[in-house]
Amino acid sequence: MLAVVMPISLAILGIACLLTFIRLVRGPGLPDRIVALDTLNINAIALIMVFGIWLRSALFFEIALLIAVMGFIGTVALTKYLQRGDIIELK
């Protein structure tokens, strides 16, 4: 059963990724693209988790975790740039 569900799940996630990518490309605004990037990150996490289940390997968990942590920081940096320009302020 899992063998059936897994491809379906992967396919759904893949479609999600594609949709997100469309937003990433289309914009129109910069925040839209950043949201899309953030979402792409999260989708990637899901993909990796499913991939891990598929391979029955727990080795991929850290990648997912790292994408979660790092992706967030990337988003923060980009949004902060949009707002303030200078992402590391003096005070």
Binding site: G14, C17, L24, R33, I34, G71, L78
Partner: protein, 937 residues
Amino acid sequence: MVMAWLIALPLLAALLLLPVRRHVPFLATPIVVSTPLLGLGLLLSVRSAVFEGRTIAWRQPWLEDIGLSLSLRLDGLAYVFALLVLGIGLLVILYARYYLPRSESTGRFFSLLLLFMAAMLGVVLSSNLLLLAVFWEMTSIVSFLLIGFWSYRSDARKGARMALTVTGGGGLALLAGVLLLGHICGSMELSVVLAQAGTVQRHPLYPVMLSLILLAAFTKSAQFPFSFWLPHAMAAPTPVSAYLHSATMVKAGVFLLARLYPVLDGTNWWFYMVSLTGLATLVLGAGMALLQRDLKGLLAYSTISHLGLITLLFGLDTQLSTVAALFHIINHAVFKASLFMAAGIIDHETGTRDLLQLRGLRRYMPHTALLAIVASLSMAGVPLFNGFLSKEMFFGETLAQGLLGDFNWIIPAAATFAGALTVAYSLRFIYGVFFGGEPDGLPNYPPHEPPRSMKIPVEVLVAICLVVGLFPAYTVGPLLATAALATLGGPLPEYSLSLWHGVNLPLVMSLVSMACGSVLFFLRRNAFHRMQARFAHLNARDAFEAGIDSLARIAGRVTGAFETGSLQGYLAWMLAAMLLIPAVFLSDLDTLAGPVPAIPLDLMTVAGMGLLGLSAIGVVIAHRQRLNALVLLSACGLLVALLFTRFSAPDLALTQVSVEIVTILLLVLALYFLPVDRPDSSSLGRHVRDGCLALGGGTLLAILAYAVMTRPYDAISSFFLANSVEGGGGHNAVNVILVDFRGFDTMGEICVLLVAGLAVQALLKGMRLTAPPAGPKGLPWSTQSHPLLLAILARLMLPLTMLVAVFMLLRGHNLPGGGFVAALITAVALLLQYVASGVLWTEARIALNYRALAGGGILVAGLTGLGSWAFGFPFLTTAFGHFHIPVLGEIELATAMVFDLGVYFTVVGTTLLIVSHLGVRDKRLDGNVNGNAKEGG
């Protein structure tokens, strides 16, 4: 050994002189004077052997593989030249002692003079062709320094440069020539070479070799058309001219002709090239001499003319002509040296050398006048003086030769004409300087006789002129005979040296030339003024300088066409080379796909790769909207990480994700300052070019990748997989490779990182950038800083992420992770504090010296590696062990983990060093950085 000492003596003296002059000045003069004296003594000590016709040889093997050996020979030819070099050198030194003002740096002068003497002796004594070339170039270099001795004078500098360019260039030709000659003969030794005339002249490269050697000789001896440098070398102090341009430097060229005469002579190539060049030089030089205003200029052109005469003699196809040439070499050296010295005296005492200003000096300096007149008469070839004898022989040989067939008469006719010109300019010299009215308008008035000792050298030389002229057979006869014997390398032709041979054709020619010369002299005034008017603007020096300048300009234009200062151009060149040349070699590939079956396609991966490609293309399309491009680039990075995950490289994915974020942080930091993007000014052609390069690069990489991936290989990795656990103590083979098998690479890698950090810190020092006043769309920046929510979360995240970092660090050896990833996590967590709460807040709480941390990391890693030395193992040998601790269980400890810790410290330190510095810059100095930045960029 005598020859070695002959060369070494002046060399040593030259080197000794500078310190001696500074510290024991009274010793300087004795050293300078005694050097040529000693040399002469040495020379005399071996005279009997040489005069018996023997060749004294000395050889010290040196660089055999290039044929360079220190081998010297002293035969008759070398003897004569050495005698001239040393004898005239001695007189010039004596002369110069009084000539040079006290204020000049005489130490340097004499040192150079001695150096020149050594080089010249080297030229004449070398028995190795390469060694000869070496000394040859040395004479060029030292003469450059001597000519430019008064370096503050523009004419001296230019004259020196010109001389160096011409004679140095000739020296290069000589180098090529002798290398060829050595190649042909199989040896560079003169003794071998001289015996192989037949081989050489039959060799197909003979003409090339001959031209090169003649080029050298002609440039050195100022033969037409290379004669232009010599008159301008007159900017040298007069003793230098007297030495270099009478007896030594310019004679090196004709010496070379004499030296190689046995191998080179005998072909039409030689006859025509040498004799015609000599003839042209003879006539033109004499003609130009007549037109000179400058006393030394006159002498210089006269020298050119006489050298032409000698060259012509070498080129004639009679044996006797060579003897005549040698004879004239000696004579010319004697009278020309004395004339130069006389000119120097005149210059010295009157302050000018201008023939238009000088007149009537006879009354003021009668002694000098007498000496100069005798010497000039010798130059003119008047009987009783030595010049007459050799000229007589010369006229005789022009008649005896048969080079030009039906046009044979041209040579004697031209010789006679040149003789007439010689007489004319000699008269001009005598009359113009010593007769004809009161010398008013001189810079030093009234002129008077120079000190007695300044005239001694001149007197000696003039005496020689006379003695040789009167009793040639007893004075110069044996010398000439032995020199001729050595030059010809065979039996001597019949000749007799005497003043009177009876009335014959040469005597008639002499008389005709003297008569015509006198007529010419009396007509000169008109001719001179007319010629002056016509050729005043023609100045070889300026033309030469202009030529060199335009050469430099052309060179600049050519290099400038490549070196445009445009990075795009450079990159395009580089990429073109990098892509095209390998592609040429790759085109031999028969089949693209190898035998290994491909992995079946799966839709997800293909889609992912498709997205990756699309994002990359997106980056290109959006590259002018920087943030968009950056977001797409970030997506690329994510997709690459996914691909790594997909293709069994979890460590890579981890690293990729973390590096990606730090890079994005960096780029965003940079983005803040970038000015508004301007429209692309690149032309369509450039876009096409770039597109082609890009496509080429992509295709090449794809082909390489595909071709290799589908081929089988046998990697050494099986060793790593097999030894990872037992040998390296870790289950994560990649990590074990990084910290153990190939830990040395990692060591280097952290050094790179550290240096990058240092470089960034150094670069950012004192950097000030004006921030743009508004964001990407021209919207003003928000005034609100540090959203509370972000600050709180960032603080919460710090311990969490640190925990993750520790986790990654500890498990790296066995599972994906490792020091690098851990360090980046730590760094990013700390950077998040900077982003969320500002620099001051963060640094007040986290007081880490990032630089010290990074440096310490290197030390930790390095010391870990060194630790194994203590146990007698190679660098970076790791050890690990399993320890059982009650309750807690099994713990594995490995030195590789300490190494990893070093990596961790370095990476944390460096990353923070880079990013925080870029973020902080000099805000503390600036004070105002927030939204209200000035216009600028």
